[in-house]
């Protein structure tokens, strides 16, 4: 161990020998709690060194999936393999997974340094080596000055950084992050997002990250899996998820989405705002006829036209873009993005014509009742 770390990177913390970057595969994972089906056949592959975020509303099963991988929960059926090996028979203590919890989980009776060194101590790393490596890890999360402090002396953000260092200290095969930023305030959350991502990429640790915050998932992950009712709705890169959502649920969960009444012509064609446009994504449950059409704010156009189909109700300045809120006839409220210079004359009360850009992502869903 001593020679290994000495030969590592400048910090003495290169990717672990064979440990980091293990591929993870979940196959048909199901888990019920009484009558509640938390996971319903989840299948997900994580490539070595990849950061996959599981995103979804509370109760969608994302945390259950993570806890099954960690070994704190068991699947009723399905398998999890790490490096091709089924980990079901391995107890949590021997899975070599680093986990950061949503609630503060540092051991209150140990200093930051001892917290980070805890996993190494269990691995019989010698005292001096342990202290050196723990110190290097604390330095890596920018807390070398706080090594001797106890958890109650650290801020929430600092505690989570120590928890991250502690999880990384054991050179985990997989890093599991269970909403680690949820308890923190917005500014600290932004900083930590970047820090976690940078570290994860540098160490090349395969990471599963569970969150209900789409911003967090989209900004940090290589791929984002959107979950609903214990299943994966779609897994894709953040940009694919945004631009070509597979289902109406994904479309509405990720980013801002408008819902407009339209007429589904069957096949891939829908009529909305008097225009025939092609439909993207899956829509197995939608019958021809009345349908809701989903279009992003940047997929719509808005022009000031006397006697148009809507009236401007509000404007939000976002920098180069301005988000214009329009009330269409039939009491349908939509948001349209327009360049701020062009939107200057769209004051509230202006009559406007809203249209659809034919090339953009347009999805359909069953009409809401």
């Amino acid at each position: 161990m001593t020679t290994n770390t000495a030969a590592g990177t400048a910090t003495g913390l290169g990717p672990a020998g064979g440990g980091a970057g293990a591929p993870v595969a979940m196959q048909g994972l199901s888990r019920s709690f009484g009558a509640v089906r938390a996971l319903d056949g989840l299948t997900l592959d994580i490539a070595p060194g990849e950061l996959v975020a599981l995103l979804g509303p509370s109760g969608c099963g994302k945390t259950t999936a993570l806890r099954i991988v960690a070994g704190f929960e068991f699947a009723d059926s399905g398998t999890v393999t790490v490096d091709g090996r089924d980990i079901a028979p391995i107890p949590a203590a021997r899975r070599d997974m680093g986990m950061v919890f949503q609630s503060y989980s540092l051991f209150p009776n140990m200093s930051a340094l001892d917290n980070v060194g805890f996993g190494l101590r269990l691995r019989k790393t010698s005292g001096a080596d342990r202290a050196r490596r723990a110190a290097a890890l604390l330095d890596m999360v920018g807390l070398s000055g706080q090594a001797r402090q106890y958890p109650h002396q650290l801020s929430g953000g600092q505690q989570q950084r120590v928890a991250l260092a502690r999880a990384l200290a054991i050179e985990p095969r997989v890093l599991l992050l269970d909403e680690p930023l949820s308890a923190l305030d917005a500014k600290v959350r932004l900083q930590l997002r970047e820090q976690i991502r940078t570290l994860q990429q540098r160490l090349g640790t395969t990471t599963l990250f569970v969150t209900h915050d789409q911003q967090e998932a989209l900004s940090m992950a290589d791929r984002v899996g959107v979950m609903k009712d214990g299943r994966l709705e779609q897994i894709a890169t953040p940009s694919e998820l945004y631009s070509t959502p597979a289902t109406a649920f994904v479309a509405e969960f990720v980013g801002t989405m408008n819902r407009l009444p339209g007429t589904y012509r069957g096949g891939d064609e829908v009529t909305v705002l008097g225009l025939d446009v092609p439909v993207h994504g899956d829509h197995p449950n939608v019958a021809a006829g009345e349908a809701d059409v989903l279009v992003r704010p940047e997929g719509l156009t808005v022009e000031a036209v006397a006697g148009g189909n809507g009236i401007v109700t509000d404007r939000t300045f976002l920098g180069s873009l301005t988000r214009v809120s329009v009330l269409l006839s039939g009491d349908v409220a939509v948001k349209v993005d327009k360049s701020s210079t062009a939107a200057a004359d769209l004051t509230p009360g202006t009559s406007v014509q809203v249209g659809v850009i034919p090339g953009g992502p347009v999805l359909i869903a069953e009409p809401r009742r």
């Binding site: 070994g71 704190f72 949590a92 203590a93 989980s105 051991f107 109650h152 054991i170």
Partner: protein, 289 residues
């Protein structure tokens, strides 16, 4: 009464000018209460000292049976404490971790020794206990474990409630620690205050218990004091006072030793200890926390 009400009213006025004066005025009625309580507790002690006379104190140590009686009481206290901790710590941890739903049931069960009079317990036990236990005074230690259970359980329960046990155990587990290691390195260090409070209550209980020891025909310190009273009233009272101080010093010692090093972790452990204790006692007497 009116003065108290006025002092309270003044204390509630959030005026920076008033605060200095208010600060000076509120201790007045507190001192009065403290004084009254002090008189209530100290007069009997003073009377006892006066009755026994200071010269009786050295005599206590020379009395027949004193050393063996206090020795037995201390041994019983030690054994009871060890058994209580070995039994109760894993039990309470297990209940918190795996069976949180039966916590209410556990509270009800552990209150039983207080509900059942000790005399009923000991008479029953003496009838059914096997000979090898009846022939040693250490049967009393087993009985005391039962008597101490309500106090020990509540202390430990309160301690664990103040600690995110599930997350801590999972964090430790995930880092590679099995349950014994987790218990030893993570759980116990963090419920030390609660364990300390359990120990203090247990020791105090054992050093003061009379009924069971007397019926079991073993001469513990309280039994010795009562027996001795027939020989010399003065020395007996001196011994009682001594018992009070010895117990008090012992408890202070436990608290001091137990909370050593806690300050650097900012635990404020002695303060926590008293909180845990008052919570415990409040719960036993059914007072709201």
């Amino acid at each position: 009464m009116a003065a108290i009400a006025r002092a309270e009213a003044e204390a509630q006025i959030p005026s920076p000018v008033r605060s200095a004066g208010g600060r000076r005025s509120f201790p007045v009625w507190r001192w009065v209460i403290l004084l009254l309580a002090g008189i209530y507790f100290l007069i009997p002690l003073y009377a006892a000292v006066k009755f026994a006379g200071f010269r009786s104190f050295p005599d206590v140590f020379r009395q027949a049976g004193f050393v063996s009686a206090i020795g037995l009481s201390l041994r019983l206290a030690l054994i009871t404490t060890v058994i209580t901790l070995l039994l109760m710590v894993p039990t309470v941890v297990y209940v918190h971790l795996r069976l949180p739903r039966i916590r209410r049931l556990m509270e009800a069960i552990t209150i039983l020794p207080i509900v059942i009079p000790p005399i009923v317990l000991i008479v029953g036990v003496l009838k059914v206990a096997p000979g090898f236990l009846l022939s040693t005074p250490y049967l009393l230690a087993l009985m005391y474990v039962v008597l101490a259970m309500p106090f020990a359980y509540r202390s430990l329960d309160a301690g664990l409630r103040a600690f995110d046990l599930k997350t801590m155990v999972e964090a430790s587990n995930g880092l590679g620690a099995g349950l014994p290691t987790t218990l030893w390195r993570v759980v116990i260090p963090n419920i030390r205050t609660a364990m300390l409070s359990a120990v203090v209550l247990t020791v105090a209980l054992v050093l003061g218990e009379f009924t069971m020891a007397s019926l079991d025909l073993y001469v513990t310190f309280p039994v010795w004091i009562v027996d001795f009273e027939q020989n010399s009233g003065y020395v007996s009272v001196a011994a009682s006072l001594l018992a009070l101080f010895v117990t008090w010093i012992l408890l202070m010692l436990i608290v001091t030793v137990g909370s050593r090093g806690a300050r650097k972790r900012g635990g404020g452990e002695v303060a926590l200890f008293s909180v845990a204790t008052t919570r415990t006692i409040g719960k036993i007497t059914g007072e709201p926390e």
